[in-house]
Amino acid sequence: MYAFDYRRPSSLAEAAALLRQDPEAKLLAGGHTLIPTLKQRLARPSVLLDIGHLAELRGLREENGGLAIGAAVRHGEVAASDLVRRTIPALAALASHIGDPAVRNRGTMGGSIANADPAADWPAAVVGCGAILRTDRREIAADDFFRGLFETALEEGEILREVWFPRPERAAYAKFPNPASRYAIVGVFVAKFADRVRVAVTGAAPAVFRATEMEEALTRDFRPEAIAGIRVPEDGLNSDLHASAEYRSHLVTVMARRAVEQARAS
């Protein structure tokens, strides 16, 4: 680790001001990506602004029939929340399989979303539900948020505040984990709304994406059989020592089918 300063702003406004003042400052919430990066000397921030405790980021409430979850709410809190389990149980289930208990007790939903790791679970839920991402400046639609590998629509100094998830009729997340890291090799979030179905895929490509052909098929017929023959093209999918693009493409269909099965059973 290189030396850095540590600040603990007492409001979102103060954090935003400090972030504006210093382009080398970094936000710290759960620290589960940032701290290992610092330990390996792969980042050299001037100051860490610890925002994990801010009340403005810690809310979890029902809103407009959906759920508003603060950016600094921890994975474990989502997994254990009666409110989440009652309204969108697929989110609680997704959160309950992130990392291990130590990770879930520190890592935050917002940190994971803002980091946009291609194998993270949360982006699948955000895009799958068609959530709204609320920052200290504006609202961003899920479909506009994830731009590429570790790349989001967040501007310099913009802070993710909370995420509003609409409540689907049925939803489920099926994940095929990397045997080493337990991140998603492929994770598929399927959400059925009254008028349409959304299917979001994480892990398979540099960024989360929607499987639109599957969405159309499932909107017509919400059964696993409806998508059994649909394959996302291999082109542009990730290929590494754990899974080739061809295998990932195959797994997207398998996981999507399983998510539909689970959603139907829910």
């Binding site: 000397r41 095929f176 045997p179 890291s181 020592l241 899974a243 080739s244």
Partner: protein, 789 residues
């Protein structure tokens, strides 16, 4: 009979400190004035070092010294050595390249040590390491074992074709003859995947030079502190042996990786002198451990089994290439030879066996012993081949084994590959394992799985291993540079408590408990009154350390012999006190008694008399302690049967282990709780090898699996609840306890059981680790082939 004696499932006494965070590991030790070391490592797999500029590193505030290979040479220090000489078929000695403490002129793998920066703080040492300027000229690298011999790259000039040795064992002519007459020949090509040991505690060391005495102390993570002392003094030459104290305190796992003498620990010791005697401490990062701790396995093998029409094995022919990495580590030469090919008979009376092993250099991390060391490779080969033969000949897989087992009444049994098995009863273990696994009921379970869309398979593995590595004369004749006996000292204190000093070292095996039980039983003293002391060359007798499941079979026997010497002495003292003839004194339940009377003296009373000899035999020395050495006449041969049942998800290729039965013949079991724990750990590592673990290099020599993000360690949910049972057991002949050793069995026997089950499930064999994609591809390919038919 004492409570907590032999056979009692006593919870481990060491667990109190380990489970409450009170263990004292090397990195927990802090000494006044200590400074920190960080190593600069090669980013290239193969390169010439053109220039090192120490200036920018030395300019970093707090940096005290920058040490390089030139400094090592200038101080006249020697190289690291490989302590086992293996000769090629033509009688020529192995071709060993120099293994310097810090690179001299060239680097040969990613992670090779280039320089050591010593500074007041760890942060300053890191800053210094980052500031050091090293200019390299990159050279072509060879990282693939398959290509090592043909590559236009020599890792060392001593071995231009990268062949370290081309070794053979067995009767080639007899094997050829048997093959010519065979009814059927079954062949397999096998990969034994390269593994990273990943002990929970990374390596660490603190080196101290005392300018007052000119003595040195090295605290380090070692499985064998006396071996470290020997090599560092005799070959590296940092200090004469009597001026070097090596301390291995609590050590958090080794699995072989902490046997070896590495450069870092030596440099840290030497560096203390370079900074005027301030203690120099170092602890590797986890990512350094991936690069710098010796890896395990890494074989490519072609093997053929000749059979007659009834499925009897006629001959076995094996050709193996073994990767030794970029340098020869401390015992690397003997692993793919004397600890591998000598086990190729397995549990069977195959009359003729021939094996040839080519060991090769590559630009990768050195490879040496890892839990099982050679024996897992042999067992995997034999047991894969046996099941393949059963399938080809259409014989039940249990039945083909029954037909070929060395029968119970054939012991001692001379194998065609040098070893003499002392005792064994393989059929009993097999039948018991089959019963526990409900082998007969398997077809119904398979059918039920099929209805759920799952493919179910069952696999058997009948492993054998040679443990209790010793017979010094035998290993010496095979090229070992050391004797492999053990020693022990047993002392009574005035108050009747017992100190047991052993040359072995415990780092997860539970010696403190097991040895205490042994002594409690032998001397009739309470278990709680025994303290086991190990791990400090200044305080324990010389020993060769802990590896190869040898500590109880060799070290335990030395302890027992020391106890017997004490009893002999005690009898004399008791006879004097009881005014009886020595011949009339018997030792029963911790007391010396005049036979047929109730007149007795407890061993504590006798010990007190020996230490306060007011009324004492005039011709006897005072004191109540004894030491003993033990060099066994033979290895021990633990053996058993493992049965694994798996289910495969055909959509994803994911393999789940549904049931795992282990029946082991470990001879006599001192503490079943400890032994079961050892089996569990070994099984998990064996399952890890079969399904999860693999060190992967890219063609340029970068380790792609350099962290737990990519190197898949088994986790609790990757394994089932094990069914572990100990066979009635045949007592080992090589020690008076009849014990065999249990530390490695699981890792040796499990891989074949898992892979055989998987092959049974999907109808085709997948190389280890059988990752989901490999399994899916195997199934996918098979389905396409079937569709085409």
């Amino acid at each position: 009979m004492v409570a907590k004696g032999i056979g009692a499932a006593v919870p481990r006494k060491e667990d109190r400190r380990f489970l409450t965070g009170r263990g004292r590991y090397t990195d927990d030790i802090h000494l006044p004035g200590e400074v920190h070391a960080v190593f600069v490592r090669s980013p290239h797999a193969h390169a010439r070092i053109l220039r090192i500029d120490k200036g920018p590193a030395l300019a970093v505030p707090g940096v005290l010294a920058v040490l390089t290979g030139e400094d090592v040479a200038a101080d006249g220090l020697g190289h690291l050595v490989c302590g086992w000489l293996v000769k090629s078929k033509d009688g020529s000695p192995m071709r060993m390249g120099k293994h310097p403490l810090l690179a001299q002129g060239k680097v040969r793998y990613v992670g090779d040590r280039v320089a050591c920066v010593v500074a007041e703080t760890l942060a300053a040492a890191r800053d210094g390491a980052e500031a050091l300027v090293v200019e390299y000229e990159e050279l072509p690298a060879v990282t693939s074992l398959a290509e090592a011999e043909k590559a236009p790259v020599a890792v060392h000039e001593e071995a231009p074709d990268n062949v370290v040795y081309d070794w053979e064992l067995g009767d080639r002519a007899a094997v050829e003859e048997a093959f010519a007459k065979a009814h059927r020949v079954v062949a397999v090509d096998l990969v034994n995947n390269r593994l990273v040991p990943n002990a929970m505690e990374p390596r660490a060391a603190i080196g101290v030079w005392d300018p007052g005495t000119d003595g040195y102390t090295l605290y380090l993570t070692s499985q064998n502190p006396h071996v470290h002392r020997l090599v560092i003094s005799a070959f590296v030459g940092i200090a004469p042996e009597h001026k070097l104290r090596v301390v291995a305190p609590d050590v958090g796992g080794g699995f072989g990786s902490k046997i070896f003498v590495y450069g870092e620990e030596c440099v840290v010791l030497w560096a203390s002198r370079k900074v005027g005697g301030r203690p120099v401490r170092w602890r590797e990062e986890r990512s350094e451990a991936f690069l710098a701790d010796a890896h395990g396995r890494d074989h490519l093998t072609h093997a053929e089994l000749a059979l007659d029409a009834e499925g009897h094995f006629l001959a076995l022919r094996v050709s193996t290439r073994a990767n030794l990495g970029a340098y020869m580590s401390t015992f690397s030469s003997c692993i793919p030879t004397y600890l591998y090919a000598t086990l190729l008979a397995g549990q069977y009376r195959t009359p003729a066996i021939y094996a040839e092993v080519k060991a090769l250099y590559t630009n990768t991390t050195p490879v040496d012993a890892y839990r099982g060391a050679g024996r897992p490779e042999a067992s995997f080969l034999v047991e894969t081949l046996v099941e393949e033969a059963a399938r080809v000949l259409g014989i039940d897989r249990a039945e083909i084994r029954r037909r070929n087992f060395i029968p119970k009444d054939a012991f001692p049994y001379q194998t065609p590959v040098a070893l003499v098995y002392d005792t064994g009863d393989y059929a009993t273990s097999l039948e018991r394992a089959l019963a526990l696994a409900d082998y007969a009921g398997f077809p119904a379970r398979r059918a039920e799985a099929e209805r759920r869309g799952r493919l179910r398979g069952i696999g058997i593995s009948c492993y054998i291993e040679a443990c209790g590595i010793a017979p010094s004369a035998v290993v010496g004749s095979l090229g070992a540079g050391v004797g492999l006996w053990e020693s022990a000292e047993v002392r009574f204190t005035h108050t009747g408590k017992v100190q047991v000093l052993t040359g072995t070292h415990t780092h997860g095996q539970g010696h403190e408990t097991t040895f205490s039980q042994l002594v409690a039983e032998a001397l009739g003293v309470p278990f709680e009154d025994v303290e086991v002391i190990h791990g400090d060359t200044a305080g324990t007798p010389v020993g060769m350390g802990t590896y190869g499941s040898r500590s109880l079979a060799v070290g335990g026997e030395a302890i027992l012999r020391a106890c017997r010497k004490l009893i002999d002495k005690g009898r004399k003292i008791a006879a004097h006190l009881l005014e009886a003839s020595e011949a009339d004194i018997e030792f029963v339940d911790g007391a010396f008694r005049v036979k047929g009377t109730d007149r007795q003296k407890t061993i504590q009373e006798v010990a007190f008399t020996a230490l306060v000899p007011h009324r004492y035999p005039p011709d006897l020395e005072p004191g109540f302690e004894a030491s003993a050495y033990f060099d066994p006449p033979n290895f021990t041969f633990p053996a058993g049967t493992y049965v694994c049942e798996v289910e495969v998800d055909p959509d994803t290729g994911r393999v789940s282990i549904e049931k795992f039965v282990a029946v082991d013949d470990f001879g006599r079991v001192i503490n079943p709780l400890v032994v079961e724990g050892q089996v569990h750990g070994g099984l998990v590592q064996g399952i890890g090898q079969a399904l999860l673990e693999q060190a992967v290099y890219d063609p340029s020599g970068q380790l792609l699996t350099g962290s737990f993000m990519d190197y898949a360690m088994p986790r609790a949910d990757d394994v089932p609840a094990f069914v572990v049972e100990f066979a009635p057991g045949t007592a080992a002949a090589a020690n008076s306890m009849g014990v065999k050793g249990c530390g490695e069995a699981g890792a040796i026997g499990a891989p074949a059981a898992v892979i055989n089950a998987l092959t049974d499930a999907i109808g085709v064999r997948v190389e280890m680790p059988a990752t989901p994609e490999k399994v899916w591809r195997a199934l996918h390919g098979r389905r396409l082939a079937q569709a085409a038919e």
